[in-house]
Every structure is written in C-alpha cells, then in structure tokens.
Symmetry: C2
Subunit: 231 residues, 2 copies
C-alpha cells in the first residue's frame, strides 16, 4: 500500500459527477489499484474513491495545470464501468510505501443468522404450543425465515430482521400472499420478528394483520448459554 498526504483536488465522473476543491488530504493507494481519499472527519466513508478492479496511471500536467501549481496528475480508471477519478497533486507532504501482506480477515458473531437459529431453538417465543416446521422454508419467490405451526396446527410464517423496517413487512406480505394461495398451507398467519421494530413498520404490519414480535438477543443467547463476550 502507498500512503500519501498531499495538497490535491479531485474529480470523479461515473454514475454522478463530483468535485473536491484543493485541500490537504490523505490518499490510500491499495495493492489492488483501488484509491481512497480521506479527510480528517466524516466517518469511514472516504470523500471520494475508486473501488477495484481499477488501475492508476500518472500523467504530465498540461500547461494550464502546471501554471496553477499542479505537480502530478493521477488518473484512476475503473476496469469495467469507465468511472474515472482524477487526482491533481499540488504538493506531496508524505509519500510512503508499506508492505502489509494478506490480511487474515474478520471473524463475526451476532447477525441475523444467529437470531434465526435462536428463535428456531426457542420457538415457543412465538406463543405457547408453537412448533417448528423448518427454517428457510422455500417458496417460489424465496425462502421464508421460519415456518411454524401454532397450538391449533395453523401455519405461521416468520420474517426475522435485526431491525424491522417497512421493507421487511413488504417482503413478509409477499410471502403470505403466495403461501395463502397454497391449499395445503392456508390459512397462514404472519409474524414480524426483530430486535427492534420501527413505528411505521409496526403500523403497516398490524394494519395487514401481521403480528409483531420484539426479540431480546441477549436474553435468547443467555438461555442458550452461549460463549461469554470477549471483554
């Protein structure tokens, strides 16, 4: 990786056009050709960037640019989409090459898959007498997270999200419409389960007769007796 601090201006042309006026910024040029332009604020998103696959070429500044103090022009071209990033360097403050090697990568825990597994194991959170039919029940338009039966034996389709928003309700609605056309399954009721359910999503769900269920991940995990937190 090449780490650069420079006075520079940047132009992007691709799905939109964007321009950065001259200022001092940090440039990261990664081994795969990708480039990140960072300022001293914002969060992890760069001000501007080019994602791989792409390639960087150095050009000579033309007369106008040279007169305006441009020392180097870097053109980064996306290999497939023709998106371009042009970086005009006025002043190089730091320019370091660093050898990083291949990263062993991130290990994650605690996403939707866990919620689904835990709810399948603790299926009575849906209500007394519920039983699991299966996880990832396939339908023509995709898999329903959990298919269960209630105490009376009626089918229950469960859509699980970490955060329940309006999209998830739409998704579950499509599944329910389809499943209710299947005489072997109908009538199918819906449960929208999430760690947190946004008011608009709850309103829409309940308006459509879909039950909302807020999941307490820590409690579900505690019951299961999972590994302790790292710190």
């Amino acid at each position: 990786m090449r780490l650069v601090v420079a006075e520079c201006s940047v132009d992007y042309a691709g799905r939109l056009s964007a321009h950065l006026p001259p200022a001092r910024r940090v440039l990261m040029l990664k081994a795969d050709g990708s480039v990140l332009v960072h300022a001293d604020g914002g969060s992890y998103k760069p001000l501007n960037w080019m994602s791989p696959p792409c390639s960087l070429t150095e050009e000579e500044p033309d007369e106008d640019q040279a007169a305006a103090g441009v020392r180097h022009v870097w053109r980064v071209r996306h290999a497939k989409t023709d998106d371009q990033l042009i970086i005009r360097i006025h002043d190089l403050v730091i320019d370091e090459d660093v050898e990083l090697g291949v990263d062993p990568g991130l290990v994650k825990d605690g996403v939707e898959a866990d919620l689904q597994r835990l709810l399948a194991e603790q299926i009575d959170l849906l209500g007394d007498g519920h039983s699991l039919v299966r996880r990832e029940h396939m339908t023509a338009i995709g898999p329903v997270d959990i298919l269960a039966r209630d105490a009376g034996g009626a089918a229950v389709a469960v859509e699980i999200k970490r955060r329940g928003e309006i999209d998830g309700v739409e998704q579950l609605t499509r599944y329910l419409e389809l499943m209710n056309r299947d005489p072997h399954l109908a009538p199918v009721s819906g449960v929208f389960a999430a760690q947190e359910i946004k008011p608009q999503a709850r309103t829409l769900a309940e308006d459509r007769g879909i039950r909302c269920l807020v999941l307490d991940y820590d409690a579900m995990r505690g019951i299961e007796g999972g590994p302790a937190r790292l710190f």
Copy 2:
C-alpha cells in the same frame, strides 16, 4: 490526523462482536476521535472502525498481553452506544501526525433530485399533453415525486429513481393504492421513471398496470443546456 502502520489485533463489541487476528494494518485516527482499520485490499470499507462521536484512551497492557508481545492497548469508546474497539499494538512501523485542516467538502451533481427537476421541466416526456401539477405531492405516507395530469385530465403519479428496482415499484404501488381511495384524485395511474429499469421491476410494474419510462439523463440535461462535463 494520526497515521499509523502497525502489527495489531483488533476486537469490536457493539451491535455484533468481531475479531481481527494479529497482522500488519493501517490505522487512521481522525481528529474527531474516530478510528479506521484498513488492510491492503477490500474496498473503501475498513476491516473495522469506530465512528464519531467517540474517544480513544491508551491503556497499559496487562501481564499476559505484555508476555504475548503487546506494547500498547488503545480503547476506542463510542460516546452514546457503548460500542468499543480495542486495538492491541504489537509493533509500530509508522506513526505520523498530520495537520489537514477542515475540508471544503464535496460538490455533487447528477442525483435523483436533478432527474426530478428535469422531468418536471420536461413533463411532456410522460406523453403528449401532460401537465405538471406539482413535485413532492404529499400523501399520508409520504411525498409522491411528481403529480401530473394526462391529456384527458386524469391524475398521474410518477416515482423517480436513478435505478428502478423492485422497492421503487412497491413504493409507488402504496402511493397509488392510497391516492385511488381519494375521490378527488381517482383514478390515478402510475409511471415508474428511472435511468435504468431492472427486468424484475419492469415485470412487477407492468403486472400492476404501472407504466415504465426510461430517462436519458444526458439528453434531458442537454435539452436544458446545463454545464459541460468537467473532463
């Protein structure tokens, strides 16, 4: 900003838990306290990070850590959510402080707002004899991008996207359902307008009687006589 290259391991605990095994990585410590951990690949997203507002504190490594070669322990705490990032430094390769100043910021052009403005100005792209009623027509569940009337005076609701996907069709469908219940407006027909419409979205839209309209941004802009591209 502080730019660091270091052998380090990283742990995150917050909405999920995540761990990075020891390796050489680039750390960006921004002025607002936020931290980014980058490897030499991936795209602009860091392997791990903490977004502002947050604060960094340095701790002494305990005996076990010191024995394992840990020289420094940095703890980054989110001010509101208690998310934590712990960085254990085994080896500092580069450690530079850089003064960047406030960035003048990004200037954008060519997003959905432009499409909406241009279509409102060139409303006959919807068909001969169409007239604009208003942009951002409010309904109970949100604003419709454009409300127009066709040659016969019937209401037309337009949803505009840069890229037309299934979500946009669902959104327009909700608006149409609602608006068609209003006797002052009904019958309202729908137009789904985008620079590019995905086949599945087109199929769903047409199945629901919604017309699809592909917008040529460059042509619309050309007619308007906007500024030339930067390069």
